[in-house]
């Protein structure tokens, strides 16, 4: 596979690593009992600890620790029995403590890996350096007033898992797939709600470019991207920017960048010359975090079936392709829906591929058009199963099934009801179809002559006419066979 991009003079390779910030799905914050609920009125979920009032002491949330361990196991990573909380010192209006409690030298989770699957059936492993626990900061609103910034500390102190990848990623698409995969694992584990719009999941992207085979180039970090689309746009823009500098003889300055979502451009953050002097040191308010092997084993037992296991199961049981199975397992709601649908009738097991197609193309597009998702789909998995059974039994054609699905979607009726009420059963009776074809042939003598003179394309015209007469209900295969037969006899 060629992942190179062309500059004016040379071909270049992107080298990309991601730092993903995932909010732990918990009731209370990492070191205080304040609620983590999203969207509450400003500063209503701030304890004296979160506001960094003098004399307050942080007390760690046991559940958040367990979720970090659980996530580490889901990322096939090493869980560290001993980890330490450090203070990362910097000044910012939404950080009342003047430091963020994070983990530096001794993170709770060490090296791991995840696999991403490509459309062509190949896959690739992305290595994970570490996962550590840290506090989220508050939220600043910059655009409400020309001279003020407004600060809401509700998010301040919510537990974050920072997941750092090796620079194993080579294209914007891979970056998107990697983030989707992490999101999927988090959602199966139920350790993060994966809501990128609300900022529960966001990423910083490190990117550099090099000529193939060269050493890594100097990298820039693009901060705080909260959608896969923006991540890809930002990477593309930033890679082009770096290539232009390098090809015109310049050099890259290591910098922290911001991505402007309306212009699609990156620009360096200002006032950052001191920013990287965080003066980490162990937080004297917190003892080291120790987790016994026994506790880890106990958490292991709570790990549900993860997307990769489920994917392999689908491939084995239903003979699906790697790609189909990965699309199906990317979101838990999709694999749940598929499971319910295919198990609603024993015969459907032999038509798994059709079930996949109907979920991922027809149903998905209807849901998207109506701003719904599988969890609130008006078509239940069992009803979709019934529809597919009607197709596989040749009771209705695929084309009619699409119309039936739309009616199911808008009325909530079952496929059977709709087919019976509207008399949509496919015509498979040979005699009936022959009769229609005879009519078509005798109605269009000129067309028949042209067809016989070699204009093969006209076959479609006859099929269309015959379908029209049967209101689309004729079995297409039988229709085609009889039609060809009859036309050739005219000769």
């Amino acid at each position: 596979m060629n992942n190179l991009i062309k500059g004016e003079k040379y071909e270049w390779e992107m080298v990309i690593g991601l730092e993903i910030h995932a909010q732990v799905k918990s009731n209370s914050k990492l070191f205080s009992s304040s609620s983590t609920k999203f969207g509450s009125s400003p500063n209503s979920q701030v304890s004296l600890v979160d506001a960094a009032m003098p004399g307050m002491l942080p007390v760690i949330n046991k559940y958040c620790v367990e979720q970090a361990v659980k996530t580490g196991i889901g990322l096939n990573a090493k869980i560290n029995n001993y980890s330490v909380f450090d203070r990362k010192n910097y000044f910012y209006a939404d950080l009342p403590q003047g430091y963020q409690i994070s983990q530096y030298k001794y993170p709770i989770v060490g090296e791991g890996k995840v696999t991403i699957d490509f459309k062509d059936g190949t896959s690739k492993d992305i290595s994970i350096v570490r996962l550590h626990l840290e506090q989220d900061a508050g939220k600043s609103l910059h655009d409400q007033n020309p001279s003020k910034t407004y600060v809401d500390l509700n998010r301040s102190g919510v537990a974050l898992m920072e997941i750092v990848s090796e620079p194993d990623i080579r294209t914007p698409d891979e970056a998107g797939m990697y983030l989707s995969k992490i999101r999927s694992i988090l959602m199966y584990l139920n350790t993060c709600d994966g809501n990128m719009q609300e900022g529960s999941l966001r990423a910083d992207v490190n990117i550099s470019v090099r000529k193939p085979g060269d050493q890594y180039g100097t990298r820039c970090e693009i901060k705080n991207l909260n959608s896969i689309k923006f991540i890809k746009q930002a990477i593309n823009y930033e890679a082009k920017r770096q290539i232009e500098i390098l090809e015109s003889g310049g050099s890259i300055e290591q910098n922290t960048m911001l991505f402007n979502t309306s212009t699609g451009k990156t620009r360096p953050m200002r006032n950052k010359e001191e920013a990287h002097d965080y003066r980490y040191f162990p937080d004297p308010d917190l003892l080291p975090l120790e987790i016994s092997q026994e506790e880890i084993e106990k958490i292991k037992l709570s790990i549900p079936e993860l997307p990769d296991e489920l994917k392999n199961k689908f491939i084995d049981t239903y003979k699906l392709s790697n790609y189909d199975a990965s699309v199906l397992t990317a979101e838990k709601q999709t694999s749940d829906y598929f499971n319910k649908s295919i198990n609603s009738d024993p015969e459907l097991k032999n038509h798994a591929k059709i079930v996949v197609n109907w979920i991922t193309s027809e149903l998905f597009s209807l849901l998207k058009k109506n701003n719904l998702n599988l969890n609130n789909s008006p078509v239940s998995p069992e009803n979709l199963g019934q529809l597919i059974k009607l197709i596989s039994n040749n009771e209705i054609s695929g084309k009619i099934a699409k119309d039936v699905l739309e009616v199911m979607f808008s009325t909530g009726k079952t496929a059977r009801q709709i087919v019976d009420e509207k008399g949509l059963q496919q015509v498979t009776d040979q005699g009936e179809i022959e009769k229609v074809i005879d009519e078509v042939i005798s109605d269009n003598p000129n067309m028949v002559k042209e067809y016989l003179d070699g204009k093969d394309k006209l076959l479609g015209f006859f099929v269309g006419q015959a379908m029209k007469k049967t209101k689309g209900k004729a079995n297409p295969k039988i229709l085609n066979d009889i039609l060809k037969n009859k036309l050739n006899k005219e000769n």
């Binding site: 918990s26 009731n27 209370s28 304040s34 009125s41 400003p42 209503s44 701030v46 500390l153 200002r270």
Partner: protein, 95 residues
């Protein structure tokens, strides 16, 4: 390690503390004497000694994941020099 004028200025800036020349001199002396004093510890051979993280040998206390409704905004904003509709208002931070 020796603290000089540049270092003291850097530390002061990182800590958002303004020092005049006289104060800088005082702090250079103070910090250097503290560092000298601490440096005596280098005389101790610490090879194969695990760093001590805790003299009480107690373990990190943990709490259950229970959220307490704080409805805190009035109390939290009480000391704020400037506020608006439940938000802290601070001089514009442009990034």
């Amino acid at each position: 390690m020796k603290i000089d004028k540049n270092t003291i200025n850097k530390i002061a800036r990182l800590s958002r503390i303004k020092l005049d020349d006289k104060e800088s001199e005082e702090y250079i002396n103070d910090l250097n004497s503290i560092l000298d004093w601490v440096e005596q510890l280098n005389e101790v051979n610490t090879e194969n000694v695990e760093p001590l993280s805790n003299i009480s040998s107690s373990i990190l206390p943990k709490r259950e994941d229970v959220s307490k409704d704080s409805n805190s905004s009035d109390e939290i904003l009480e000391n704020a020099p400037d506020k608006l509709e439940g938000f802290f208002a601070v001089p514009k931070v442009v990034e």
